[in-house]
Symmetry: C2
Subunit: 348 residues, 2 copies
């Protein structure tokens, strides 16, 4: 089905084949994910997954498509040359070196980026994919629970992250979906405050942004707390973000565009007078990559459809003072958005 | 110094500038490592690090070179166009999409890969870099100690990895240097047996291959144990690998080539009759990337020099039976190789 759609696209664009090399796409199309990578050739009537010799046995066991192997780069490019690839579809992130080798050693003359058809496929998750993402989200919720229990005055951000990641792995995660963010005090005003050696202090806002990687799929959730009693300004920005996030989850449904959803969320923050401090987009797709399509931003007019999985994560960042972000991963269903991360949102 | 050498290379090759985008090289040349990436332009008489707006404040604090910012891709490419880049040096891993954008939006006509000069610089570590790698290796030794304590019959591989990674982070690591390998029983015959849900059984060979990422630098070490009493065949392959690894550490010194070192190690395994089962190269450079130059293999004739940091990691893999690998990260000094990972090697 997935490969068939790619083959249709190849025929529409009059390509000889597509060459897939990005790990997430190799897994998507073959079900196999060699540590050392591989080269998936998809021609109109032929499919072959060529992997390094060290990966051959494992790939043969896991791949849904025929597998071949290579020992040296020379052997690889000779095998590719055998496909007579004059006009080749590639991923936009294929490296310049690979493109040069394909020209020089495999006789490719023209390259066409095939990202659009891969996006079209991957943006709608199957029920099986949604189940795996849901499981990844459940693990993220367990890690969040651990964080909420562990955070206290005097502990280092990195120690909290260590405990969360331990909980993730003990519950079946392969690893974190991304570097765990624990941003306390002034650091909470940094949208990407990866856990540092800073000690958590009384009165700190603490932004906890984390996710688990489970069976190749990601999850993503954020909560913010205050250590001790929140002051008025902390409460003010917290409840602005909370209302924006809730309205976003309510508004996300089939038919609305990603841009419209971003506007709805952004407008709540603006009403509270913090529009200038919501300095990123509302969210992003989540799946085999932590950031994928659609982008819930002013630049993306994708119409939401059932099966899309996105984050909704407004934030307010006041330099030096601190920040608040609240985020869930949600799946779009016929009836609206269903939250896959479920930790309580009203935490101060 | 680093940038100056790159500028010399640009002049030698008659390039207008080099554009650096790989994260490890951005850190190497600027001292800054924006989560969202950045674009470092190095012209013969000019250097500018252009980062996304969200990263601007942090980059300004950490970068050793002047910093500018961009809000949209359009703005970025206009700024790049201002440098009049007709002939541009890039990294081999620069993406096809970026290359296309540079052609279409920044007027670049010719691209030249500058990887060789970056390799020439990064392959020799400064005393400061060696100190950081040493610290990363000390953390890896702590994690190995934790593994040796934790491994017992009935535990899952992933649980051991969870504990090791917790120890790493509690001791200052940013994260693991790579996905921790815990490969027990038949899985130990897989050179890349990332920790799975398999339970460890009595009599299993267990290969533990792990490293920590500390202040952007990697470490890499492997030990193998037997749960319970080893049988004769397990002992036989263990002592073959141990002798090969020891001889490798003794032989590694300035003047020998990477290929010669690989041969010395490989010959020991061959003498024991397991040559066909040592199915990878002897080692690789370690630094800002887990695999970098030189490659300790038959394909790399680099002459070892003081300041190089490499792994020495022979292994024997008997399909279905199991495998053994023993690995240290070592630094080449005037007097020979000094082990930076120091966990006891005689473990069965």
């Amino acid at each position: 089905m997935r490969i068939k759609r790619l083959q249709e696209f190849i025929e529409e664009k009059e390509l000889d084949a597509a060459l897939i090399t990005a790990k997430e796409n190799l897994f998507y199309f073959t079900g196999s994910s060699p540590v050392l990578g591989g080269y998936l050739v998809v021609a109109p009537d032929d499919v072959l997954f060529i992997v390094p010799e060290l990966e051959y046995e494992e790939a043969r066991e896991t791949s849904k498509v025929p597998v071949d192997k290579f020992k040296t780069g020379k052997e690889l490019y000779e095998k590719l040359k055998g496909f007579k690839l004059t006009k080749l579809g590639i991923e936009g992130k294929t490296s310049f070196s690979t493109v040069q080798s394909l020209k020089e050693k495999a006789g490719v003359e023209d390259f066409v980026v095939v990202d659009d058809v891969i996006k079209e496929l991957r943006i709608i998750k199957t029920p099986e994919e949604i189940e795996v993402i849901k499981a990844a989200c459940e693990i993220a919720d367990m890690a969040m629970m651990a964080a909420l229990e562990e955070i206290s005055e005097g502990k280092r951000e990195r120690e909290i992250a260590a405990k969360m990641e331990y909980v993730m792995k003990m519950n079946g995660a392969e690893k974190t979906a991304f570097d765990t963010i624990i941003a306390s005090g002034w650091r909470s005003a940094l949208p990407h405050g990866v856990a540092s050696d800073k000690r958590i202090e009384k009165g700190d806002l603490v932004v906890i942004d984390e996710g688990a990687l489970y069976r190749h799929y990601h999850s993503d959730t954020t909560r913010t707390i205050v250590v001790g009693s929140p002051n008025e300004k902390q409460k003010d920005i917290y409840y602005a973000v909370l209302e924006a996030q809730r309205k976003g989850v309510e508004a996300a449904r089939p038919g609305i565009t990603a841009k419209e959803l971003d506007t709805i969320v952004r407008d709540v923050i603006k009403e509270y007078g913090y529009g200038d401090y919501f300095i990123h987009s509302t969210g992003h797709g989540v799946g085999l990559q932590i950031h994928e399509w659609p982008r819930v931003s002013q630049q993306d007019e994708t119409v939401l459809k059932p099966g899309m999985v996105i984050t909704i994560e407004p934030g307010i960042y006041l330099p030096k003072f601190g920040g608040v972000r609240i985020e869930d991963t949600v799946v779009i269903t016929e009836n609206g958005a269903r939250r896959l991360t479920k930790t309580e949102r009203e935490l101060i």
